[in-house]
Each structure stands twice: as structure tokens, then as C-alpha cells.
Amino acid sequence: MMRSIYSYLILTLAILFTSFNVAFSQEAVDSLAVQQGKEIFKTNCVSCHSIGKNALIGPGLEGVANKRKKEWLKKWINSSSDFIASGDPDAIAIYEEWNKVAMTSFYFEDEDFEALYAYLKNPPIQEDIVSADLTLAEDQGVRTSTKLMFIALFLLMLVYLLTSLKNKLKESLGQETETIPDTLLSQFNLFVSENRNVVFASFACLIVVLKFSFDTMIGVGVYSQYQPEQPIAFSHKVHAGENGVDCNYCHSSARKSKHSGIPSANVCMNCHTYINEGKITGTTEIAKIYDAVGFDPNTRSYIEGYEQKPIKWVRIHNLPDLSYFNHSQHVVAGKIECQTCHGPIEEMDVVYQHAELTMGWCVDCHRTTEVAMEGNEYYTELHDQLKEKYKGEKITVDKIGGIECAKCHY
């Protein structure tokens, strides 16, 4: 009893703490300027700077807004080379520290700079990763085998208890006692002696076998957890997780096309022109990009007349030809997060297929996901009609034809 009370107490405390934490961070972050700033940061800065401590091409920007004055930052961002030339000692110091590479000039409008500054002043508290963690835990739950083991243990205990109870009773009556195997055997014989029981038992067995085969068969061609080795050991954990590079930075066509697009090597080179070392295996892996495009890290220049070698990535998510899937539909029109289908990609060192990619999986989601109609003029008229048609119900994707055959098969 006491134990369960304790656990309740702890859980309540934990929930209170989390909600307080979320409420607190939201209050601070919730201004429009910070959101705008985040966008500006994502589009302009993220390829060279992280918002944390990590140094990429340039230094990590944690606490930069407190360290430097606003005016100083503005001058530096607008044109670092001019600023260095003006002889500012801090600027020169940074220039010297970072291998005499001046930062690209960004002539931001005042409004944009204010937004960016607001964002730098209120950097995000690792919220994204926390939420992803929660979904992961929820998703996996307790494994079926563990459950089965518990049930079996429970049943064995029950047999033990009942047998010992029976023996106790027999003892008190002065009868001969039985061991557990004896009981099991006699009970089994009793069960088998009746024909009906045998029929029932074999039927039950058959159902179990059929269910097992059905489950096996339906799993044919389903490759969730498929985790092939890639020609370059690229880590999403390092890029998307630790360094916070936005998914769309590399997979830019996910917003425009049906393909999310594997980034071309020139996108890699945007950053890796400067970054040629990694913490673990990075140095050798980055060298593979250089080998593909013909880049000499020592001279920091492309080798002339080099025969470039395409990088042959192994495709993980293979949808059959007969089904049409469009990334931009889901990412832009549907406003779905990448992680919804791809799982905690920012934690994967080696990417694996998270979802089943079966039709059932698609259709299930279409049945439960609401259509992102708000603020989209395309839906204005349709939304009114649907509100009328499905009074009070959620307007899910299937209600606008999202589970019709020819939406994906043509």
C-alpha cells in the first residue's frame, strides 16, 4: 500500500514539474518576434552556426546575446569584414581565432534583425527532443513477449498456490498428497478423457497457428526497422540532433516535390568545405564526400578535371511503384512533422525505417488525422460545406476522399 502511494506522489510531482517547466518556457518564447527570428536563423545562419555550444563553421551561439551588445552584433552581422577593417578589437580577435575567415555579410532589415536578436536572446530549451522522446516511449510500450512471460509466471504461481492449498486440505483430511507434476498429469488425463475437450483444444491450437501464419505472411514485404549500411556513415543524430540542422536544409525538395530528395553532394559541401573533421568517424566519412566531388581539404579547393563519383546511397523507404506518395502534400499541405512517419530521426546514428509503410498504416492515419484547413483559402468553401455535412465531427482526411483508391493508385 505504502509503495503505491509513494509512486503516485512521485508521478504527480513529475507531472506538475513538467507542466510548470513547459508553461514557463512557453511564456518566454511565445512572442512572434522569436518565432520569426527562428525562421530567419534557420534559413540564414544554421549552415554555419548552432544555437547551442557546438562549434560548426562558426562558433556556437549560446549566450551570444548576453556576451555582445546589440549594436556590436548588428555591425558584425551586417558586414563582418567592414567591421574588422574598422579595427574593433573584439571583431579582430574573433577573426584571428576562426582562421581568418570573415563571416558572410547579411544586410538584414531592422525588423528582421530585431527578430533574430530576440531569438538569440531566447534560445529554445531543448523542447523538440523531449517531445520526441515522449512519443517514442508511448509508441513502444511494453513488449508483447514480456507481457506473455508475466502471464505465464502468474499462471504457474496460481498452479503452485492451488496445489499447495489442495495438499493442505488433503493433509487435514488425512489423504495422500500429490506433487505438482502429479496434479498436472491427473488434470491433463481428466481433460483428455473427454472428446469434446480434445476437439476444443485442437481447434484452439489451429487458431493460434493460423493467427501466427497470418501475422508472418502479412509481414512479408514490410520492412520496418530496415537499417542498411550506407556508403557514407552519415549520422542524422549529429546533424539534425546535436547540431540542430533543419530537415529542410538538406531535404529541401520535401516541400516542393513528391520526393524528399537525397541532398546532392554540393549541399554537403556548403558546410563541409570548412568542416573536415568529426568527433568519432567523421574525418574518414567526410573524406568520402571529398572523394566523390574531388575536393582537396588541404588547399580547400576543387581539383580541376576530377572525375566525380556519384554517391550510391541505399534507399531505405521503398514504396512500390503502384502507389503514389507525395512529400510536399504531407509536409506543406498537411503540415505533418517529418518525425510522424520517420520516427525520432534526430536520434538515429544510422537511419532505419520507422513506419511499416503498409496501406493499412497509411489509411489508419488518414482516418484519424484532421485536415489542416485553417488559413488555407483553397479549403474555405469546402470547409463550410463539410461543416454542414458532418456536423460536429472532426473533418479527417478520409472525409475529403483521402482513402479513395485513385488518390494514390494511378
Binding site: 546511397w313 502534400q329 499541405a333
Partner: protein, 986 residues
């Protein structure tokens, strides 16, 4: 029973070609190595594998194969190393360009995916089926892959140095550039520079079908050797003497103008008379068609001139004369005659009627035809005499397409330097010393000036596939220059053209000085009636193949002719009555295919043997027609030996035909000719339409407890909810549809429709998602049979026979997307289902191929994949060719064997349209909603859109009085509907 009757499997057998014999004796071409295996006694006795072993091996291999199949293939994904900025994988790019192959011209938009062109769209103007199909010709593996010298591959450097050296050595003899009509101003300038550099250069242009008659007549009448431009939209009366201006005559933009001048809604509809020999596409669309023999044409035109001058005239022309008198200076008279005198008469009539500067313009001429046969004849004569030192050909195939091809080929031996720039090693190229293969249009830079003041630019949409070089670059390199792209850019920049903007738009116009012409001089000489009883021949070009330069394009080969509905062939067209007189016939065999008699055709010393006979309603009595463009021998695997070459008969007038034994197998997809008294195509006349817009559009009513109701209000089915969201509809205006078949090719390109070949088409296994049904009128009607008290059997058997000079209607039919679809209810696996947007969906991966749906479809629009058509040697067309496969649309599945397919209303385009609207957060614009057929239609007969959008064109058409559903008594509630056909009969 005739014992002498023989059945030929093909022309090869008839011609007694040795290959047939060899094949007949050797049924299995690849011999089975039975003897080798069993004959080796030594080996057999040593081997001691028992039956048991055999079973072991069998079991093991089966198990191994099964296990091997379990392994999932590893799919590689290879991104660009440096991605071009403008390419986003999965998103199409469009480039404005121009297609001109020496014959067909169109300003187009080229749709490219990941850098490969996959579809041609109209650039807001017009095109035709050949222009639409040209994208497949780009991926033709028969194209030359590098320059040739004496039919052996060689490099450009050697070719250039050798040709340059030979050219510079020429002192006395002539250098002749033999080209098609050239529309490109910059090319003309290059040719001028070339002429300046070398001595004695002559540039001769020829057209595959010569238009010297018109050009020379204008030289006499106006002092300029030019073809006028016609405004068929401005004419109230059109009188065409044999000119097939809707399909092949002169330019290919007349259809758009013609239909614009025939808008019943406005009450203004031109009156179109066609006096012709063969049943042409234009004749089929005419309001009044009069059959004449070719020899009568000159006389009738003379008679019309008499009539215009107030003299007595031929009675057949009385209606025409009345119409012309009622519409002064609002008419067009055209003739297909290549006789200068006849064209002078035509000019005189047009002048007298005041048509010049109103409907016909000579001061704003068309540049599409500039060929000069006189110069060509001189060239051949000079070649024979050995006066020609060098001959360079471009865009022409004289060894095939000249009536004097034989003489040309012989005379060619006297020419010292022979250079072809053909894309193919064709009939001419194979006789040349050097072949410097040109790029395809889609790989080239260029410009064109099809009409006075109108220019368009051509830009490459793909890197050259092979080691080829543009003709212009070849010429430049022979005068020691290079880089045509820079040359072209420079040429237009000098003229003050905004290069980037013009390239983006694809066309631009220039204010130019009008062409100076002399005052009209009437030099016409009246022609007397030369009508004879002899069998007369008229040569024509088919709607599909034209002059045959794209013969190796399987899409075009399989495009059924609008009139005869046959494909993969040319034939002798003949009227039913003439055929009867000559003992010729067409008949249907047990599998439903068409067979016909075979004849030999002789004209003077020219003979073509074993020509199949196609009975064509509407062909004038005692005349025959033959199509050019077939009988190629060096076109490539699809075009070789299809039909016979009719070019030698280009100048022939009278022919003799003799029946030979045997029969010929046609591939015709429509064997019934008439509507059998049903109103499949609802038709009315303009006068009736003006009185009552819904005339001719009568909907059957049924007696119900609520009284008599039209079929659409009687229904047992539950209705689909079509009022929410979109309701995609397609309207087909039968008045605007001229039956040209451009939409069929466009559909084929968009939807990865396979080509199945002649034998399969013959078995009615054609795969086109849309067809254009053609119906002839019959002399027998239900009313007439009542009057004559005929029995039903007599009536129907007479109804089956088309009139000698029938009226013709065309009706495009594709999946009607019924909202009470008969196919959906019979599918046992729910592979065909209905969408909430009014579409009938077909899910290939669900289909098990019972074909119940096809049987239950009242419109017969479902197609079954009897075979795997892709990657199958038996169907050796573009889908069995690595290069040809590049034309496939990656957004549409290539169907496999055993599934049904049909029109999807371009669902991929609808989905893309909706997605783009959702992404941009804007409602769909009506103009953006297009299917492949609707977007390519040059006459705007097909209109696609959302009927739930009250501002859409299709909504207006849906509620038009002319709108009707095909087979409306079935009440299947189609999403596709038709507008009644209106003819200007009075």
C-alpha cells in the same frame, strides 16, 4: 469453291521473297539442341542420374529459387553530385520551344522531368498529332548516333576537314543545298554566308507535297512567289476544291481559325462547301460535300469564275454561287490543285469576290511553303549531266519522296560530294558519302518565321542524346565558324529583341514592312470540262503520318485514320459502287477483323503491286485515292515496309487497276459505319438551333407514377454526394471536334499507353484510352422505311450501308466516368470504385482481370492488357527499348499483364492541380484544370473543369441547351457529356 484461291500472310509472301520460304520450312528458327543431347550416346551412357536424382535436383532448384526470391532487392538511390538549380526531382519544368521538321510547324511548351522531355503541350496555339508525337521520335533508337562516311562511323573532326577540303576545291561545278522550306531567318543568313564563302552555291527548297501551283500563280498575279495567309475565322463562306485544310493542306493552323468561325452560340457559322474526290477530314466536316473527279476541278473552278462574272455556270454550283453572292468579300476559295492555271482561276475568283485583304492576305504571307519543283527538276537534269559537284541535303528525303526518285538516285552517282544531314540513315542518307546527323528539334536551338510578323524560338530541352550536331552548326563549321547558339542570340539581339523574354515566351512579333505586291493582274484562262470515264487517282497525305518523315514513330503508325479507322497501313481508297463494278470488296472475317481484295495499280510505266483495297464511303465514283508517307524501307523497325510508297504516283492522273488473287488483312478498329437510326451523335441544323437551342437534343422519357419523366430523374440507385468539393466534368463539343486525333496521341503520351502492333489491333486489342468514332449517314432512315413499308430486317440491313456521299460525324469517346457506373457494380474485387469528385477510379494493383467491367461497360472504353507490353520482345516498340522508355511519364504506372485500364481523366494532373492549390493556399483557377486531351485540342472542342465551380466554363457548358449524355436512356449519369453537332444546312 475456287481451288486457285490463295491466302497471303503478308506482302513478303506475295512477292515471293526467299525469307518466307526459309521461315516456312523452319518453324523453330532457333533449333532445339535435342539431337546434340540425345545423339551423344557416349555421354548418355556415362551419365547415371536416375529419376530419383532428377526429382532431387528439381526439388532443390525450386526451393533455392523460392528462397532466393525471398531476399529483398537493395535499391540504390543516387542523387546529383551538383544539382542544377532549376531541377527539383519530381517536379516538371516547362520550356517554350518550336517544333518544325520541314513540314509541320508549332510553337510548343515542352514538359521535362529530371531533364528529359516527356510531353509536348500547345503554347496557347495549335499543334497536330505529329507535333504531339515528335517527343517520341526524339527517343528513337534508329536515329544516327554519330556522323558517317560511306555508311561507316567517323568523328566530326575528320568529317569537317574532309568536307571543307572538298568544298574548297570546287571551282566550276555547282554546290547545291537541297532543303525543305526554311522558316528560320538566322539559318537563311548562315546559308547566305555559306554561299558567299564558296562559289556557285545554289539553295533549293522543296516541299514533300509541292505547292508550286499556288506559288507560281501568285507570282503571275501579284509578282511575288509567296503563299497567302488565310483567315478562315473571318470567312462566311468557304469553298474548298479538294484542299484538306483542316488536316494537311498548307499550314496546320487553319483548324483553329475554322472552328472559331463556326460558333453556333453567336449565331454566326461559316458555310463550308467541299468539292473533292477522296473523303478527306475537311470534307467530312463540310456542311455540303460535292463529289467531283480530279479532272473536273479546273472546269468547275472556271465555271465558278463565270458565275462570279455573271455568266452561265454548272448547275452543281448554284447553292455555292448564292452563298457567295450573299457574302461579298467574306469568303475563301481554295483549291489543292498544283496546276498554275487552276490557281490563277482561284485567284481571279477571290479577287473578284473582294476576298484579298479581307479573308486572304498576300501582303501578310505565310512562309510555310516555299518549295520550287522547277528548280528541283533542273537540279536532277544538271545532276544527270554531271554539272553538280556537291549536294547537301537538309530535312528532305528525296530518294523516297520525289516522284522522280529513281532518276534522282541514278543521277546522284554523278555528284562528287554528297552530304546528308538527316537524323536517320534513311533512303537518301544511305546513298550519300557523308551523313552529318542533325539534332532532333528538342535538342536544337533555332528560330522560325511561319507567318508574316510572327516569330518563334526553339531551345534545347535535353542535351544531345547522340554524337550529333545541328545542321546550322555544321554549315557554320564548314565556313570556319562555330557556335550557332551564340550566332542566333547575336542575330536577334542585333534586331533589338529581348532574348530572355522571347525565349521564355517562345514567340514574339515584329512590326515589319508589308510585302510589296503588284496590283492584281488577272491572267486566268478558262478550263474546259475534261471529264473522262477513266479511273482517276488522287494522292493524299494521311492525318497520322503526313509526308512520312516520322514513319518510325509507333504512336503515329497506330493512330487510326479518322475516316477509314485503319492503322499500320496505306491502301487504295475506292467507293463502294466502283468497287462493285471492278469486283473488289471488303469483308469481315470470323474474328471480327477486316479483310480486303488486292489489286495492282498501273499509271503509265509506273506500277505498284499488291495494293490492298479499302472501300471508303464518300470517294467519288470511278476515282481512287492513295496515301503517301508509307512504304519506307529505311525508316526503322516500326516504319519499315509498312504499306507501299505512293510518291512515284504524285503526278499520275489516270490509273488502271487489275485485281490479283489473294486477300489482305487490315487493322481497322471500327467496322460498323452507321448509327443504325440511333442518336448516338445528336445533330441539328443551324437554322433549327437558332429557333430552338435544344433542337435535336431530345431526352427519352419514361412513364412513372409521377407522370412521364426524363431518364435522369428516374433512378433506383443511391446518389453519390457530388455537390461537396470538386465535380470534374469534361464537355465535348461535336460541332468543334474535327476528328483529327491529336487528343489521342496526347493521351497516349501522358498516360503511358502502349503500342500493340498491327496484329493485336486487328484482334480489337488496341489500347488507346480514347477513340474517335466516325459515323457515316445512311440513305435509309426509320421514317423512310415507314413510308416505303419496309420490313425491319430490310430496314436495318439497308441502314448498315452508308450513303455514296454520306455526311460524317466524329465523336471522341473515352471513359464517361459514370456516376451510376455499370462497371463498378460488377467488379468482384472492388478494383474499380467511385470517387467523391465524380471520377470512376481504376486500381490496377487490385484488378484480377475478370473483365466483367469491360463487358458491362455500355461505352466499351475499358482496355485489357492481354500481354505485358513493356519489356517484351514480342512488342518491340518504344516500351521495349531503353531509349524509348525515357518518354514515359513517371507519375503514371506502366500497367502489367492481366489488368484492365481506361481513361482516368488524367487523375495525376487533377491531383497535381489540387496539391499546388493547397500548397499555395489559393482556390483552383478554372484555366489551370486540364486533361491531356483538353489541353492539346487545337479547336477547343474538349473543355475540362470543375462543375461545382459556378464560374467555370464547364459548368456553363453542362447547363447549355446543347449538352447531352451519350446513351442517355441508360441513365448512367456520366461526368463526360457532349454538345450537339450543328451543321450549317439551309
Amino acid at each position: 469453291m475456287k481451288t486457285t484461291k490463295k491466302y497471303w500472310k503478308g506482302l513478303a509472301q506475295l512477292n515471293n521473297e526467299p525469307i518466307v520460304d526459309t521461315l516456312g520450312q523452319n518453324e523453330f528458327i532457333e533449333e532445339l539442341p535435342v539431337d546434340k543431347f540425345l545423339g551423344d550416346q557416349e555421354n548418355l551412357s556415362v551419365t547415371n542420374s536416375s529419376r530419383r536424382d532428377f526429382l532431387k535436383f528439381l526439388g532443390f532448384t525450386t526451393a533455392a529459387a523460392t528462397l532466393a526470391a525471398c531476399e529483398t532487392p537493395v535499391v540504390k538511390s543516387i542523387p546529383y553530385l551538383v544539382k542544377p538549380d532549376e531541377i527539383i526531382p519530381g517536379v516538371a519544368n516547362y520550356y517554350a520551344s518550336t517544333i518544325y521538321d520541314g513540314r509541320d510547324y508549332a510553337s510548343v511548351l515542352v514538359k521535362t522531368r529530371e531533364g528529359r522531355p516527356i510531353k509536348i503541350e500547345n503554347n496557347g496555339t495549335y499543334s497536330n498529332s505529329r507535333v504531339q508525337a515528335s517527343v517520341l521520335s526524339l527517343y528513337d533508337s534508329a536515329r544516327l548516333k554519330s556522323p558517317l562516311k560511306d555508311n561507316k562511323e567517323i568523328d566530326w573532326k575528320t568529317v569537317d576537314s574532309e568536307i571543307k577540303e572538298k568544298l574548297s576545291l570546287i571551282k566550276d561545278g555547282k554546290i547545291v543545298l537541297l532543303t525543305s522550306t526554311i522558316l528560320s531567318p538566322s539559318t537563311n543568313e548562315i546559308i547566305n554566308e555559306f554561299s558567299a564563302q564558296y562559289s556557285n552555291v545554289e539553295h533549293i527548297m522543296i516541299d514533300s507535297t509541292p505547292y508550286d501551283g499556288i506559288l507560281d500563280a501568285n507570282m503571275d498575279s501579284f509578282g511575288v512567289r509567296l503563299a497567302p495567309s488565310y483567315s478562315f475565322d473571318k470567312a462566311n463562306v468557304i469553298v474548298s476544291f479538294g484542299a484538306d485544310f483542316l488536316a494537311n493542306w498548307m499550314a496546320n493552323d487553319y483548324a483553329t481559325d475554322y472552328v472559331n468561325g463556326r460558333n453556333p452560340k453567336s449565331g454566326k457559322m461559316s458555310k463550308h462547301y467541299q468539292l473533292e474526290t477522296n473523303m478527306s477530314l475537311t470534307g467530312a466536316n463540310a456542311d455540303k460535300r460535292i463529289q467531283i473527279k480530279p479532272s473536273e476541278q479546273g472546269y468547275l473552278i472556271s465555271s465558278l469564275l463565270d458565275a462570279v462574272n455573271g455568266k452561265s455556270y454548272d448547275k452543281r454550283l448554284s447553292n455555292i454561287v448564292k452563298s457567295l453572292e450573299a457574302n461579298p468579300s467574306k469568303s475563301i476559295i481554295v483549291s489543292n490543285s498544283n496546276d498554275k492555271n487552276v490557281q490563277l482561276l482561284v485567284n481571279a475568283i477571290n479577287h473578284k469576290l473582294g476576298n484579298y485583304n479581307n479573308t486572304i492576305s498576300i501582303i501578310r504571307p505565310s512562309n510555310l511553303k516555299q518549295g520550287n519543283t522547277e528548280k528541283l527538276d533542273n537540279l536532277i537534269n544538271n545532276m544527270q549531266e554531271g554539272n553538280i559537284e556537291a549536294l547537301i541535303t537538309y530535312n528532305v528525303n528525296p530518294s523516297y519522296s520525289l516522284s522522280r526518285a529513281k532518276e534522282f538516285n541514278t543521277a546522284l552517282k554523278n555528284v562528287n560530294l554528297k552530304v546528308s544531314t538527316s537524323l536517320y540513315n534513311d533512303e537518301t542518307a544511305c546513298l550519300m558519302d557523308y551523313v552529318c546527323p542533325d539534332h532532333h528539334n528538342l535538342e536544337s536551338w533555332g528560330d522560325a518565321n511561319p507567318k508574316y510578323g510572327i516569330y518563334s524560338l526553339m531551345q534545347p530541352t535535353i542535351s544531345p542524346l547522340f554524337n550529333t550536331r545541328q545542321f546550322q552548326d555544321s554549315l557554320l563549321s564548314w565556313i570556319g565558324k562555330s557556335d550557332y547558339h551564340a550566332y542566333l542570340k547575336n542575330y536577334w539581339s542585333r534586331k533589338g529583341i529581348d532574348w530572355n523574354q522571347s525565349l521564355h515566351d517562345g514567340y514574339f512579333s515584329l512590326d515589319e514592312k508589308l510585302i510589296k505586291v503588284k496590283r492584281f493582274i488577272d491572267q486566268s484562262v478558262l478550263v474546259k470540262n475534261q471529264k473522262s470515264d477513266a479511273l482517276e487517282l488522287e494522292i493524299y497525305e494521311t492525318v497520322a503520318l503526313g509526308d512520312g518523315s516520322q514513319s518510325n514513330n509507333p504512336w503515329l503508325q497506330e493512330l487510326p485514320d479518322p475516316i477509314t479507322r485503319a492503322c499500320w497501313d496505306n491502301y487504295l481508297t475506292i467507293s463502294a459502287s466502283t468497287a462493285k463494278e471492278l469486283g473488289l470488296s471488303n469483308w469481315t472475317v470470323s474474328n471480327g477483323a477486316l479483310n480486303g481484295s488486292i489489286v495492282d495499280v498501273t499509271a503509265g510505266n509506273k506500277v505498284v503491286k499488291n495494293v490492298p483495297v479499302m472501300i471508303t464511303p464518300g470517294q467519288a465514283h470511278s476515282t481512287v485515292g492513295m496515301a503517301v508517307g508509307y512504304g519506307r524501307t529505311r525508316a526503322g523497325k516500326a516504319g519499315n515496309n509498312v504499306g507501299f510508297n505512293a510518291y512515284p504516283f504524285l503526278d499520275a492522273k489516270k490509273v488502271v487497276i487489275t485485281k490479283v488473287d489473294g486477300e489482305y488483312e487490315f487493322a481497322s478498329i471500327q467496322l460498323h459505319h452507321t448509327m443504325m437510326g440511333r442518336d448516338i451523335v445528336k445533330e441539328t441544323s443551324l437554322t433549327d438551333y437558332i429557333k430552338d437551342p435544344s433542337s435535336g437534343n431530345h431526352r427519352e422519357t419514361y412513364a412513372t407514377y409521377k407522370g412521364k419523366l426524363p431518364s435522369d430523374q428516374v433512378s433506383l440507385y443511391e446518389e453519390h454526394d457530388l455537390s461537396t468539393g470538386h465535380f470534374w466534368n469534361l464537355s465535348i463539343d461535336l460541332t468543334s471536334c474535327i476528328g483529327c486525333g491529336e487528343c489521342v496521341i496526347s493521351c497516349q503520351a501522358e498516360n503511358n499507353i502502349p503500342v500493340v502492333g498491327k496484329q493485336e489491333v486487328r484482334k480489337s486489342r488496341d489500347m488507346h484510352w480514347m477513340r474517335i468514332d466516325r459515323y457515316f449517314s445512311s440513305d435509309m432512315t426509320k421514317e423512310l422505311s415507314k413510308e416505303e413499308k419496309k420490313s425491319a430486317i430490310d430496314m436495318y440491313s439497308e441502314m448498315e450501308v452508308p450513303s455514296e456521299n454520306p455526311e460524317v460525324v466524329f465523336q471522341p469517346v473515352m471513359c464517361m466516368h459514370c456516376n451510376h457506373a455499370p462497371c463498378e457494380t460488377v467488379c468482384p474485387v472492388a478494383a474499380t470504385t467511385h470517387s467523391n469528385e465524380g471520377l470512376n477510379q481504376m486500381t490496377y494493383n487490385r484488378c484480377i482481370g475478370t473483365r466483367y467491367c469491360a463487358n458491362n461497360c455500355p461505352y466499351k472504353v475499358r482496355r485489357f492488357n492481354w500481354f505485358q507490353y513493356s519489356e517484351n520482345e514480342k512488342f518491340d516498340f518504344h516500351m521495349n527499348d531503353d531509349l524509348g522508355k525515357m518518354v514515359l511519364n513517371p507519375d503514371v504506372v506502366v500497367r502489367s499483364r492481366g489488368v484492365i485500364e481506361k481513361c482516368s481523366m488524367c487523375i495525376q494532373k487533377i491531383q497535381e492541380l489540387k496539391l499546388n492549390a493547397k500548397k499555395s493556399g489559393k482556390p483552383i483557377k478554372d484555366v489551370d484544370a486540364q486533361t491531356a486531351c483538353a489541353s492539346s485540342c487545337s479547336t477547343n472542342a474538349l473543355v475540362f473543369g470543375d462543375s461545382n465551380n459556378k464560374d467555370s466554363e464547364v459548368w456553363r457548358l453542362r447547363n447549355d441547351e446543347r449538352a447531352y449524355d451519350l446513351l442517355d436512356h441508360l441513365n448512367v449519369k456520366p461526368s463526360v457529356f457532349y454538345q450537339t453537332k450543328i451543321r450549317n444546312k439551309s
